[in-house]
Symmetry: D2
Subunit: 272 residues, 4 copies
C-alpha cells in the first residue's frame, strides 16, 4: 500500500507539495491514517518533466522522511508536471529499481495497489511483454510489469485503450491461474503533456484517489508554501486526514484525463 501524488499546472518547486505542507506526501509516509499499512518507509521517488526530452527521476530506498537529498532536490527543481511516490513493499525487494515512478522514454508511471496472487501470474505477465521492451525491465514489482504491459499494448498510441487492455490481460491471467484475490490499482501515467489517473479494482474496492476541485484545495495542501495557481490540478491518494469539500473523490472504475485545457473523467472498464 503506497501513496502518491501527481501535479499538473504552472511550474512550482516540487517541495511545495512533496515536503513543506503539514500533510505533505513525506509527512504521510511517516504516519498515514486512512489506509491499512501505516508506514511507507520502503523507498520513494520523484519524476518531473523539465526542459529535456525525457523526464528526470530521483529514486532511493531509504525512508523519505529524513532524506536530505530529497529535501535539497525538491527545493531546487521546479516543474509543471511531476509525480511523487512513497512505497510500502508488500514483498518485492527494497531496491531502487522497484521504486516509483518508473520511466520509459518520455513516459512516467506510478502505482498504488497490487495484482492479486502476483507470484502465480508473474511469469505469464512477463512473457507477454514485448521482446524489445523486455530488455529494459529492471525490477521485480507488479507495478513495473503493468507499465510495460501497457506499453506493449499501445500506451504510446492510445493510452486509455492500452490501459484497458493491460487491465483486461491482468484479470484474465489471474483468472486463468485460479487467483481469487482481486487486483487493485490507482495509477498515474503521463507522456509529459497529458496526465492520466486511473482508479480501478476488479472487486470495485480500490484504494482512495482524489483530485483537487478548486484553489481552496490547493491552499489546504500547499499550506505555507508557494502560491498555487487556480489552474493547477493535484491528484493524490489522500488529500488530508480530513477530506474537505474542496476535494473530489475519483469514483471507482474511472480514468481521469488531465490536459492543459481541462479535466475529463471517463468510465473505465477492462477490454481486451
Amino acid at each position: 500500500m503506497c501513496r502518491w501524488l501527481a501535479y499538473r499546472g504552472p511550474a512550482i518547486s516540487l517541495d511545495t507539495l512533496v515536503m513543506k505542507p503539514e500533510h505533505s506526501l513525506v509527512a504521510q509516509s511517516f504516519n498515514a491514517q486512512r489506509n491499512i499499512i501505516a508506514v511507507n518507509g520502503d523507498g520513494f521517488g520523484v519524476g518531473w518533466y523539465g526542459e529535456n526530452r525525457y523526464p528526470g527521476v530521483f529514486r532511493d530506498t531509504a525512508p523519505a522522511w529524513h532524506d536530505e537529498n530529497l529535501r535539497h532536490l525538491t527545493a531546487q527543481i521546479r516543474s509543471s508536471l511531476f509525480f511523487a511516490h512513497v512505497r510500502a513493499s508488500s514483498g518485492p525487494d527494497v531496491q531502487r529499481t522497484n521504486c516509483h515512478p518508473f520511466q520509459y522514454e518520455n513516459w512516467l508511471f506510478q502505482h498504488n495497489g497490487a495484482i492479486g496472487g502476483f507470484g502465480r501470474v508473474k511469469r505469464t505477465l512477463d512473457q507477454a511483454i514485448d521482446a524489445e521492451l523486455y530488455t529494459q525491465l529492471r525490477g521485480s514489482t507488479d507495478s513495473e510489469r503493468m507499465f510495460f504491459l501497457a506499453l506493449t499494448f499501445g500506451l504510446r498510441e492510445d493510452p486509455p485503450a492500452a490501459l484497458r487492455r493491460m487491465v483486461a490481460f491482468v484479470e484474465q491471467t489471474c483468472s486463468n491461474a485460479g487467483v481469487a484475490e482481486p487486483s487493485r490499482m490507482t495509477i498515474a501515467v503521463s507522456d509529459g503533456v497529458r496526465l492520466f489517473a486511473l482508479r480501478y479494482s476488479s472487486s470495485r474496492n480500490s484504494q482512495t484517489l482524489y483530485h483537487s476541485r478548486n484553489i481552496h484545495a490547493l491552499r489546504e495542501v500547499g499550506g505555507s508554501g508557494e502560491e498555487l495557481s487556480p489552474d493547477a490540478v493535484i491528484v493524490l491518494s489522500e488529500p488530508l486526514d480530513n477530506v474537505s469539500e474542496h476535494w473530489e473523490e475519483i469514483p471507482e472504475s474511472t480514468l481521469l484525463v488531465i490536459e492543459p485545457d481541462g479535466i475529463e473523467a471517463m468510465a473505465f472498464e477492462p477490454a481486451a
Copy 2:
C-alpha cells in the same frame, strides 16, 4: 525514541528474539504502540559476543523490517550475550556511525532517550572526552557521547561509578547551559561478562524498561522460536503490547547488574 533489547543466558540464535516472535524487536520497529514516535525506521543494529576477544557488530541504515541481511545473520549467529536496537532519529543523521550498539574494544553500548537541549551542550560534552578516545568518536549522536564520557570517567574500571559520573556531568553541563528540558535514558552496556541496564531521567520520567521475571516471560517473547532457558534474562524497552505478570518493570533511577550468577538492582543517582 528508539527501542532495544539485551539478552544474557545460554547461547541462542539472535533471531529467536530479534526476528521471529510476533512481538519481536523488528516487528516493534514497524508498529510500536506504547511510546510516542511510532516508527523506528532510521537504522538498526545488533552486537554480540562470540569466540573472539571483541564483539561483532552489524549496523545498517535501512528499516529493519525488510532487511534480508539482518534476517540471514540473526538466523546464523548464536550468542549468549547480545544487544539489538532499532532507531528513530530525533535529528542526527541516518548513517551507520549513528546506529546502535556502539562498540569500543570489548564494550557494547546502546541507548534510548535523549540529552535535553543536546545541540547546546554537544561542544562542552565533546571537550570532556578523553583525548585518546576522541579520535575514535565517529558519529554525531548524544548516545555515542554518553558512551565515550562513561569510558572517560572509568567505565572499564567501575561501571556503576562511571555511569553515575557521566550522568552527573551531562546534567551539570545542561544546567550550566540553561537547558530546561530533562535528559532521559535507558541504557544497556556490557563488557562481555556483566550486563548493565540503566533506567534514569533527570525528570523521573524516563522511557519504559522491563526485564523478564521467569520462563513464562521468555516464552511470551520467544513464541514459536527456540526453547529458552529459565536461566536467561531479557531486558527490553517494551516486552509486549500488553505487559503480563511475567515481566517486571525496572523502576525509575535504577541500575540493573546482570551477572552469570544473578541479577542485582541498585538505586541510581548521578554523582560527580
Copy 3:
C-alpha cells in the same frame, strides 16, 4: 568481470581469506591487475554453511574495501565451506539482488563472466525457467538466470549434467538469436557438501581460475592469518599477482568436483 573465491576445509574465520591477506579478495577488489576491468566496486557478498539447514548470505552494494559490516562479520563467522565475491557490473543494476552468491534452499552459486549478447536472449532464458522457481527470481543478472536454469535442468539431482545442459541451452539460445559474442564463465556452486568449480567459455577463452595445490599455496594467501590445514582447498579467480608453483590453473572446459575425500577434475562439454 568479477572475482570470487571458494573455500572447503576445516572451519576457519572467513576473514582469513576474505579480508586479512595482503592479496585478499577485498584487496583485489580495489586493485586487480590480471583481468581487464580493474575495479570490483559494484557490491560484494559472502555465503557460508553453518549449523543451519540453509547457508547464510550477506550481500551489499557498497565497495567491499571500506565496509565495516563485512569486516566484522568475516571476523566472527567461521565456516568449513564458504564463498566470497566482489562484483564489477557490466550493466545490470547495482542492487543486493544482483550481488553474488545467490542462494536457493541449500545451494549457493557465484559467477564471473558474461553471457554474450545477454540482452537479446534474456527473455528466452527467462521463459525456460521452471514456473515454481520463477517466482523466486529476484534480480536482473545473467548469473542468477544461469543458476535458475541449472536448477531447472536438475542441479539438485545431478549437478554436472545440469551444468552441461544449462550451458548447452545458453549457447543454443545465443546461437538462435544470432549472437556472435562468446559466453564466458567461471562458476562455483555447492549444496553444502560438494563444491563444484567450472571454467568454461564458448570461445575457449574464459577468465582465469586456480586452485590451491598444497599447504604452501594456502600460506601464500592466508599470510599472517589463521593456520590453514593441508586438507583445505581454495579455488579462486586469481591467487596472487604473481602465481606461484603452489597453485594450479584449472584448464579451459573443466569441472572440478571437490568433496570431503578429494578433488576430481573432469572435462566439461555442454550437452543438451
Copy 4:
C-alpha cells in the same frame, strides 16, 4: 586522494562536465592515472547555485560510475556555478555527511588532500570551531573541519584572510602536536558569486590543480557535450590524462579568485 571540479560561466547542464566527456569527473573516479590512489569509489557529490537563496547539494556514498540518480540529476540541472567531487577515503567513514561539497548557508566547500596526523589534532581543531557553528558539524572529516574553521575565522567577511588564518591554525596545531607529516590541500569554496580555488601544501608538494586557459580547453573536456562559452572557467584536479597547452597549472601556494569579470591569482601564505 579525491578529485574535484568547479565551474563558473554561463549556465550549462552539470552532466556536460560531470558525466559526458570521455575524461569526465565520473570517468576519472573509476580510473585515475595521475595521482596515487587510483579509485575514487567512496562517495560523490555535486553542489550548484540555482534560483534559491542557498545552493542545492546531492551527495551519496556509492561509487559515482553506476549511479543513476547522478546521471539523471546532472542531465536535468543547469547552473552557472557548480562543484562536483569524487571521494577516496583515507580513513573517515563512507557516509553522506563525509561527502563533498559541504554546504553552510550560501557557501559551498570541497577539498582534496589531508591534514597531516589528523587524528592527533582533531580534538584541538574541533575546540576552535565557533560554538554556534559547532552544532552544524555533522561528519568526521578533516575537510569539514577546515571549512568550519574558515567560517569561524571570517570566511563570510574576508575569504582570503579567513583561509590564511585557517591554514595557519592547522599548521600551528599540527606543529604543537609534534606532527611531522605535511598538510596538503586543493580547495574550492564559493559564496555563489565568487569562486575561490586554493592550492597549498605545508611541504610545497600539494596535489595538482589546473584551470582552463581558453575555449580549446573547454572543448577538450566538454567533448561531445553542450557548447561551452569562451567566458567559462573550469578548475579541476586533473584536466585530462595528458594535459595540453590549453590548461594552466595553478602554482603551489596560490589562491585563485574567479569573479564574473575575471580571474586573479594571488600568492597564498598562511597568516594568523
